[in-house]
């Protein structure tokens, strides 16, 4: 009697595990599509446009994906609202920019420093994580919203500091001529010029957008794997427990302060990492690149994508990047050419009274962006791809069906 029952019970457990797997399948499908898209995108656009401008764009989108994955650890997993995430991005970028450019030669130090990129990637990561820990240590005891405000203040202070200490950072003049990564060997082909496919020795990334693109894809893949590992681990569960109920989590023996500090530090390290890479790619770092608007954009990506769900956050980052940095800026031109093609070209003429149809559209982009944000949140308050956790209302019905099936099995 008890043996078959036990077997049925374990079968029911397994069948429900498979339900869980099925839900996870959606993530796998998303990752599959993303990997294919990441491979097809550069090939297709280089072939279609005969240039690498779109690949560079995709690389820029890649920073935001990295940032969103990192912020998701803080906001989505641990439930800590961080409104100053760009500060860590700035810290990472400046760490690399100052230690791998001629900048310090004109500073009171009088010596330019040129440390290798691959080392600095990790140094920047640790510096940002350290900054996160220093900020987090006294403030993580605070209730959720106060933490948000502290991070907001921090996010306002950091770019201002880089601006104010202009002897060292060049202030508003920015840090330029930042070193590019160098690899012992790399494959180049028609995409990077006219040459045939060949292996290049002592390859310098400068001027090869495809190399930066490949590298960011690898970094994102690594980030996804590492963060997914954390999500399904002792630490990941501790984060979620704190997000759900801090008192109960502490009663289970979780040291809430160090656990939150880890979320904060790991989130910051991603931002610092992305910052160093950004500095190398763009080769120009100014305090204006790290204002509140950047923190907010990344936060919107995380919430829009579906907090807590890594694949959703990636989609959210890509969608929002496209809207903010590609769709909206291209609108004025698109409207102008539309007007031309339907015989209303006269509307495009600029006068002192009328900025032209394109100019008028450009003035509209703020309104459109705001309206898109409001509309998206109203339509999908849980985000585009909510995590399994937040989607459970829907899944609940399915689980109950399984339950009923198991009951039937018991009865027979």
């Amino acid at each position: 009697m008890s043996a078959p029952r036990r077997a049925a019970a374990s079968r029911s457990f397994l069948s429900r595990l498979s339900l869980r797997e099925r839900i996870r399948d959606r993530d796998q499908a998303v990752y599959g599509i993303l990997i294919i898209a990441a491979i097809v995108f550069p090939l297709a656009t280089i072939y279609a446009t005969d240039g690498t401008a779109l690949v560079s764009q995709a690389t820029r989108a890649g920073y935001f994906v990295l940032l969103a994955i990192g912020l998701n650890v803080v906001v989505g997993f641990a439930g800590l609202l961080d409104l100053g995430y760009a500060a860590f991005f700035a810290i990472g970028a400046y760490t690399y920019a100052l230690l791998a450019s001629p900048q310090l030669a004109s500073s009171p130090a009088h010596h330019a420093v040129h440390l290798p990129f691959w080392l600095m990637l990790f140094v920047a990561m640790f510096v940002a994580a350290g900054a996160g820990a220093i900020l987090g240590f006294p403030t993580l005891r605070l209730r959720g919203d106060y933490l948000a405000i502290v991070t907001l203040g921090f996010g306002e202070i950091v770019p201002q500091l880089f601006y104010n200490f202009d002897q060292w950072t060049g202030g508003i003049n920015a840090v330029g001529i930042i070193d590019q990564p160098v690899l012992p060997a790399w494959i180049q082909g028609p995409w990077s010029g006219d040459g045939p496919i060949q292996v290049v020795r002592n390859f310098n990334f400068g001027g090869d957008p495809v190399a930066f693109y490949v590298l960011i894809c690898i970094l994102i893949a690594a980030a996804v794997i590492l963060v997914s590992n954390l999500y399904r681990s002792r630490l990941g569960r501790a984060w979620m427990a704190i997000r759900e109920d801090e008192v109960a989590a502490a009663a289970m023996g979780i040291n809430t302060v160090t656990t939150k500090l880890l979320a904060f530090g790991i989130g910051a390290s991603f931002s610092g990492f992305a910052g160093a890479y950004y500095a190398a790619d763009v080769s120009l770092v100014s305090p204006d690149n790290f204002l509140f608007i950047v923190s907010i954009t990344v936060l919107v990506m995380v919430v829009l994508g579906g907090m807590g769900n890594i694949s959703g956050v990636i989609i959210g980052a890509l969608v929002l990047y496209y809207v903010v940095f590609s769709l909206l800026p291209s609108l004025p031109g698109a409207v102008e050419s539309l007007a031309n093609s339907i015989g209303l070209g006269s509307l495009n003429v600029r006068t002192t009274e009328w900025p032209g149809l394109g100019g008028e559209t450009q003035r509209l982009t703020f309104i459109i962006y705001g309206a898109i944000l409001v509309a998206m949140m109203l339509l999908r308050p849980q985000g585009l791809l909510p995590s399994r956790i937040r989607e459970q209302e829907l899944k609940h019905a399915a689980v109950q069906e399984e339950e009923a099936a198991v009951e039937m099995e018991h009865a027979t």
Partner: protein, 328 residues
């Protein structure tokens, strides 16, 4: 006395001593800066009240509030354009225009804010907590976009219609405008205090802020109360925008962003959700900003203001007055 307390008192004492030294060495300059800080602080106070009231009642950091404030100045300057006002002297038309436009702008902003609440926040009352935060950010962009579309990216002139009377007492310059700003702000805050403490709606607002479910059980119409909070918050923000315009005579569409953050800091400073705290916080932040501008350098003011914000939260998590902690 705990270590954070000790650190807090040491910091405060250092600041007071340094300021006192300045007051003794250069008394006229000190008083002049003080007056400037007070006027600026009065405006921050008006804006901070809106942040704190909304946070107190629905725990939302209303990022669009600073833009409501700016829009108030835009609307004010727009309507004033219809009057035959004089910018060279104070005419009867100026007085009439002021008396008509000032309350009109307040009411218009109140109406706009209620509409924003209805469209962008009310449908998300039971959504995940970050959803309304994102719509607030969206509304902020939207309002900035409206101002940008309306008047373009450049700064906008606000008619200078107040009397330019000024006097100098013991080397300190007092303008009519300074007094106007402080007095109007004080009257509005006093009216708000009476409203909150004496009227039925005010009591409903306080009850809802304390415990929404219990308030609902007591027969309070929650939606109406929240709408009223947004309305009153925007009345004050609209007034703040008008005062800003009348005082500085120039606005631009992104003004609400930075001054909104500073006003929000003021609200936190007074203990967020705490109404008298926001008024005091506004004044204190205004003074700190003014002192920092003249004694440290204006490029450090942002660092000082937000540094103090972090310090206050670390040492005094319930705000300076520390009266009411919004419990979850």
């Amino acid at each position: 006395m705990s270590l954070p307390d000790f650190g807090f008192y040491v910091l405060c004492a250092t600041a007071v001593v340094l300021l006192a030294a300045q007051a003794v060495i250069h008394p006229t300059e000190f008083v002049q800066v003080f007056i400037f800080g007070l006027t600026q602080g009065s405006i921050y106070a008006l804006v901070a009240l809106g942040y704190t009231m909304v946070y107190g009642i629905i725990e939302l950091i209303n990022f669009a509030h600073g833009d409501v404030f700016t829009l108030g100045a835009y609307v004010g300057s727009g309507i004033l354009g219809f009057f035959a006002i004089s910018e060279s002297g104070f005419t009867t038309v100026n007085l009439i225009a002021l008396l008509l436009v000032f309350p009109a702008v307040m009411l218009i902003m109140g109406g706009i804010n209620v509409a924003i609440e209805r469209v962008a926040y009310r449908p998300l009352r039971n959504a995940p907590r970050l959803a309304p935060l994102i719509t607030a950010i969206g509304m902020s962009f939207f309002l900035e976009g409206v101002m940008f579309l309306w008047r373009g990216p450049a700064t906008v002139h606000f008619p200078d219609i107040l009397p330019k009377t000024a006097t100098t007492i013991a080397g300190v310059f007092f303008g009519f405008k300074d007094i106007f700003v402080v007095v109007v702000a004080a009257i509005l805050v006093a009216l708000l205090a009476v409203f909150i403490n004496r009227t039925k709606l005010g009591k409903a607002m306080r009850a809802t802020a304390q415990d929404r479910d219990a308030a609902q059980l007591m027969g309070i119409d929650i939606n109406r109360t929240i709408a009223a909070t947004f309305f009153i918050g925007a009345l004050l923000a609209g007034a703040g925008g008008m005062i800003w315009g009348l005082y500085y005579n120039t606005v631009y569409y992104q003004l609400g962003f930075r001054s909104g953050l500073i006003a929000f800091t003021a609200a936190v400073f007074g203990g967020i959700g705490n109404i008298p705290g926001a008024a005091v916080g506004g004044l204190v932040i205004g003074l700190i900003a003014a002192f920092s501008d003249s004694y440290i350098g204006s490029k450090w003011t942002q660092v000082v203001v937000f540094g103090i914000l972090i310090g206050v939260l670390v040492f005094r998590p319930t705000g300076l007055l520390g009266m009411r902690v919004p419990e979850k």
